[in-house]
């Protein structure tokens, strides 16, 4: 049923449409056998206009979830959650606060100050003239006697400061080290922060400040025991917008929009709305008065089927929905064992007026950015090169089996000949973490219905950069082909 606004809008648009000036109000010019002659103005480049399918990617799902402090007001201002996450070991850890460029490994691998234990997470960064090295679990000091130790209290608990670490390492500098060993049996529950390059007082202050920012692995997992900085303690959902990233049964294509007191989400075929409250003590999202806002779930329409995602209905229903926040993502439902959905914040979106083609700010870089970028570009170009058999291209995808299945399906669509004529061009790669990159690329085609400019994502998998499956599936979905994430 139309609202008053919708009815007025309908009337206004119909009335306004009559103001259009028709070049040939009495009928179009007759056509000769020769092509229609139209006077064209000079245009820059190809005028590409989008088709009802083929390829149109806007969603930045993965890349946008990496937007940290650069996020718009549409995203969730929750602290503290790690702005930087160091992965690649048994003990991944995060650093909260302003994003920091953590480099994996010790300060000088050729002459490390400390031996690296198996599975230990090690990373370092530079703050002015000072060098900070973090180890999780912490560096074991077997002979503490004789060194100057100071007892301090971090926000997370008691720790020690080793004030006169001896000159060592390639730079042969003394150091100050914060040592946090809570006495837990958890393998990744301790850490050390070692700082050199300044005076003792400066190194001490930097080490303590940095130690306060460390987010241990337990804090990186949703609902982890003793989660540090995770959870919904300070969650503000009002006026935030989210994109469904995954569910307990695979990927879905949906969105969820929170207002001040109401929330709306899409089930794939209809938009539902409800009133909501957050129970911070219980970790629940309370939904009431769930009702249809728009759309109808029914049989397939002419333009493709109306998808319906029962898992969304299973999770988002009247009553209490468990909710957790971790690593910038919302986990709703019984994660990880039951029905659940995972949402990532929607970044600045075109419909909100923001330029959808703006790449995110760079984050922590991979170990060798030049090599990584080359691999990213190669993966994107290879996947888009239909002159290469799909079976040979699939390895450039994050999920080769999923990609290949969808790629085969696309060949049966009416857009296959258009797709074959497309040439892909990678313009820019921005690494938002050592394992993720945002990629601006073009689809160049003679066909006027191919949208030219896009942003996608690349991920590091098994030591090789590949196109994120979310990027590929976005493209496939607009030809009517869905990715089967179960493959």
């Amino acid at each position: 049923m139309s609202t008053d606004l919708e009815q007025r809008l309908r009337e206004a648009l119909h009335e306004d449409a009559e103001r259009a000036r028709l070049l040939n109000p009495n009928g179009p010019p007759s056509f000769d056998v020769a092509p229609l002659v139209v006077e064209h103005r000079r245009r820059r480049g190809l005028r590409l206009v989008a088709v009802a399918a083929v390829i149109a990617l806007i969603a930045l799902v993965g890349a946008l979830t990496m937007l940290e402090d650069e996020q718009s007001v549409d995203t969730v201002p929750v602290t503290p959650v790690p702005s930087t996450v160091v992965t690649g070991s048994d003990c991944s850890f995060g650093v909260s606060g302003d994003p920091v460029a953590m480099q994996p490994g010790p300060v000088d691998p050729a002459a490390p100050r400390f031996d690296t234990e198996p599975g230990q997470g090690v990373a370092h960064t530079t703050i002015g003239s000072q060098v900070v090295e973090v180890r999780v679990p912490g560096f074991l000091l077997h002979e503490p006697d004789g060194w100057r130790m100071e007892d301090i209290d971090l926000a997370r608990g008691p720790a020690k400061v080793w004030l006169d670490g001896p000159a060592s390492g390639q730079a042969n500098k003394p150091f100050v080290q914060v040592r946090y060993f809570p006495g837990s049996a958890e393998p990744c529950s301790s850490f050390t922060v070692t700082v050199d390059g300044g005076s003792e007082a400066e190194n001490r202050q930097t080490a303590i400040d940095f130690a306060e920012r460390i987010v241990l692995p337990a804090g990186l997992e949703p609902g982890g025991a003793g989660a540090e900085g995770a959870g919904i303690g300070e969650l503000e959902l009002a006026d935030t917008h989210w994109t469904f990233i995954e569910t307990s049964v695979g990927a879905v294509e949906s969105v969820m929009d929170f207002g001040a007191t109401t929330v709306e989400w899409d089930t794939g075929c209809e938009r539902l709305g409800a009133s909501y409250e957050l129970d911070l003590d219980d970790g629940s999202l309370i939904l009431t008065n769930v009702a249809n806002v728009s759309g109808t779930c029914g049989p397939p329409t002419t333009f493709g089927s109306t998808e319906h995602y029962p898992v969304i209905d299973a999770v988002l229903r009247e009553g209490r929905v468990p909710i957790k926040l971790a690593d910038g993502r919302l986990y709703l439902g019984d994660h990880p064992d039951g029905d659940y959905v995972v949402l990532g914040p929607s970044g600045p979106s075109e419909e909100e007026g923001a330029d959808p083609l703006v790449l995110p700010e760079p984050g922590e870089q991979p170990a060798d950015p030049a090599v990584a970028e080359e691999q990213v570009r190669a993966a994107f170009l290879r996947l888009g090169d239909t002159s290469i058999p799909a079976e040979e291209r699939a390895a450039s995808s994050e999920r080769p089996g999923v990609w290949l299945d969808a790629a085969h399906a696309v060949t049966s669509t009416q857009y296959w000949d258009i797709i074959q004529g497309i040439r892909e061009q990678v313009d820019e790669v921005v690494f938002v973490s050592p394992t993720r990159a945002a990629v601006r690329f073009q689809l160049v085609s003679e066909d006027p219905i191919v949208p030219r400019d896009h942003i996608g994502e690349a991920v590091l998998v098994d030591g090789r950069w590949r196109m994120a499956i979310a990027t590929s599936c976005e493209l496939f979905s607009l030809t009517g082909v869905s990715c089967d994430m179960s493959l």
């Binding site: 609202t3 606004l5 919708e6 007025r8 809008l9 309908r10 206004a12 648009l13 009335e15 306004d16 449409a17 103001r19 259009a20 000036r21 028709l22 070049l23 009928g27 179009p28 056509f31 000769d32 056998v33 092509p35 229609l36 139209v38 064209h40 103005r41 005028r47 590409l48 206009v49 989008a50 088709v51 009802a52 149109a56 806007i58 294509e253 949906s254 929009d257 899409d266 794939g268 209809e270 938009r271 806002v293 728009s294 759309g295 329409t301 333009f303 493709g304 109306t306 075109e350 419909e351 909100e352 007026g353 009416q414 000949d417 066909d447 006027p448 219905i449 949208p451 979905s477 607009l478």
Partner: protein, 153 residues
Amino acid sequence: MDEDFAAFYRDAYPGAVRLAWLLTHDHATAEDVVQDAFVRLRPRFDEVAHRAAYLRTAIVNGCRDRARSAGRADAGWRRLRVVTEVTSTDKPSELLDAVGHLPYKQRAVLVLRYWADLREGEIAEIVGVRPATVRSITARALERLRKELPDEH
């Protein structure tokens, strides 16, 4: 083929121009986008299954490309000139003004839904988003209009 294409042109042209007008509020741009769309459709006329959808999509994206080329990423309409045909109340103009200030994609979705009366799936394919996103865009656009026009509900 030419007679078929000419017949299609005669049928589709008025709606095409009106669609382009609603999206740009610029007569010259609207005509240019429409002619460009027809010219590019013609070689593929026999191959395209859904010609009307193809045409609409070409127009929607042609208008968007024009706006971007003009450096107006969120290109709103140029200010509506007062037209004598407007009813005595200002509300239709205020409403259209508000629509004109919406981001392009929101405007396009509203036009396709409330003027062209297309279904969400059709709009999704034309605009290049998912049906869920069409619903989201629609909801946000209407909300934006409500905020800009406090008398509207």
